[in-house]
């Protein structure tokens, strides 16, 4: 697949973000270089939540409108979301080891993220296990909706264990608690990761369209 202007722009934006984060953003006083992983970890988590939110939304709309395009968006967004969740689950422990002293703790947010990963991996496996296109779309829409309903329950049930995770620094009622230069880098990271998400979603969607065109209304391997 040839690179599109959108995907080139997204990759360039992410590179600029990384260069800025590594060379032009001050070190955090207590955490040192480990803190820099925030500029990957937090925007990846944001993109993952956005991606799974879109899966839930397009799943509801699919069952209502039975429009193939919605199913393809859900399919694409779930896959891209799993990739970003994997990034979150890899970068988190890398930071956790030097700062918390452990790669993994059974903290509420960590556990929730792990289960998000499980739910949407199961979503992808489910899609792969059904040959009939309409049935696959309906089944995965059902799972997409139930998965979205499940998230608050997992969150609540694991939240009652004490949470170690740093509290939100950006999306909170009071002003962001990050020094100006770091905040700019973080915001840039959110923007570039969002752009990367859109580019990947679009590329994955186009793949789904080409695949469906090549095998009209018959079984194929997802």
């Amino acid at each position: 697949m040839k690179p599109t202007p959108l995907s080139l722009a997204a990759v360039a934006a992410v590179l600029v973000t990384f260069v800025r984060a590594i060379f032009f953003t001050p070190l955090e006083a207590t955490q040192g270089p480990a803190q820099k992983i925030l500029y990957v970890h937090a925007p990846a988590a944001w993109v993952a939540f956005m991606a799974f939110g879109l899966v839930g939304l397009t799943s509801v709309l699919y069952l209502w409108l039975k429009e193939d395009r919605l199913d393809r968006v859900a399919e694409s967004s779930a896959e891209v979301g799993v990739v970003f969740t994997t990034v979150v689950l890899i970068t988190g422990p890398l930071w956790g080891k030097p700062i918390w002293g452990a790669y993994w703790t059974w903290d509420a947010r960590l556990t929730l993220t792990l289960f998000l990963w499980f739910i949407y991996v199961a979503y992808i496996v489910l899609r792969g296990a059904i040959d009939d296109r309409a049935m696959r779309a309906r089944y995965s829409a059902v799972l997409g909706i139930l998965g979205a309903l499940l998230i608050p329950f997992i969150h609540l049930s694991v939240y009652l264990f004490r949470t170690l995770h740093p509290q939100p620094i950006l999306m909170k009622p009071s002003a962001p608690s990050l020094p100006g230069e770091m905040l700019t880098t973080l915001l840039l990271a959110f923007a570039s990761f969002t752009l990367l998400y859109v580019a990947l979603l679009r590329a994955r969607y186009r793949y789904a369209v080409e695949r469906d065109d090549a095998h009209p209304a018959e079984a194929y391997d997802a």
């Binding site: 069952l63 289960f115 499980f118 739910i119 199961a122 496996v125 489910l126 296990a129 059904i130 040959d131 309409a134 049935m135 309906r138 089944y139 829409a141 059902v142 799972l143 909706i145 139930l146 998965g147 309903l149 499940l150 329950f153 997992i154 609540l156 049930s157 694991v158 009652l160």
Partner: protein, 226 residues
Amino acid sequence: MSEVFRDAWLIARKDLAIEFRTRSAFLSALVFALLGIVIFYFAWDASAVSAIDLAPGVLWVIFTFSGMLGMHRSFGVEEPDRGIDGLLASPVARESIFLGKALANLVFVAAVQIVAIPAVALFYGLPLGPVALPLAGIALLAAIGLVSVGTLFSAMAVNTRLAELLLPMLSLPFFVPIVIPAAQATAKLMSGRPVGDAGAWLKLLLAFDLVFVVACTLAYPFTLEE
């Protein structure tokens, strides 16, 4: 509305009659539960971890896995002779089919637990008497959530290439908000705390049941051939 429930009851009775005559799933789920209780005991150092700390976890893991064993065949039993086509052709609402299947599964899970829970108490030396009633309440709340999600995923899994292999993968994440509150509430009860201490956990279970019974009943018709 009452027709939906009457039809559901008929379908549940059909499934329970099949199960009562063969008892195949019940016996295998029961033996599975007992085996699990025994194996779990040896997975911990009994001199380091006291039975009372161990029991609630064991209880609810066994509960979940043996429940899943029964739900495997909830729709699997309709497959060989395409019995599901007969059900769909009969003049009952699709919601009734789902509720009937779920009700039969609920009775199945309850029947296994009536033996399995006292067995945990027996093998782990727990005083069951004083907590029997609240524990039965927790078990019922947990079972309702378990069967509503499990029945729906069983209906979906039988139509996929992976069949029952898919059921645990789909349903276990959904059992997390059942197992955690149930185990926590049980631990509170067994350490002699009043039921009120487990209030938040019980509310969470109740909310889960309400949301997923409704969502799964509404979702079921979408899992059928159109």
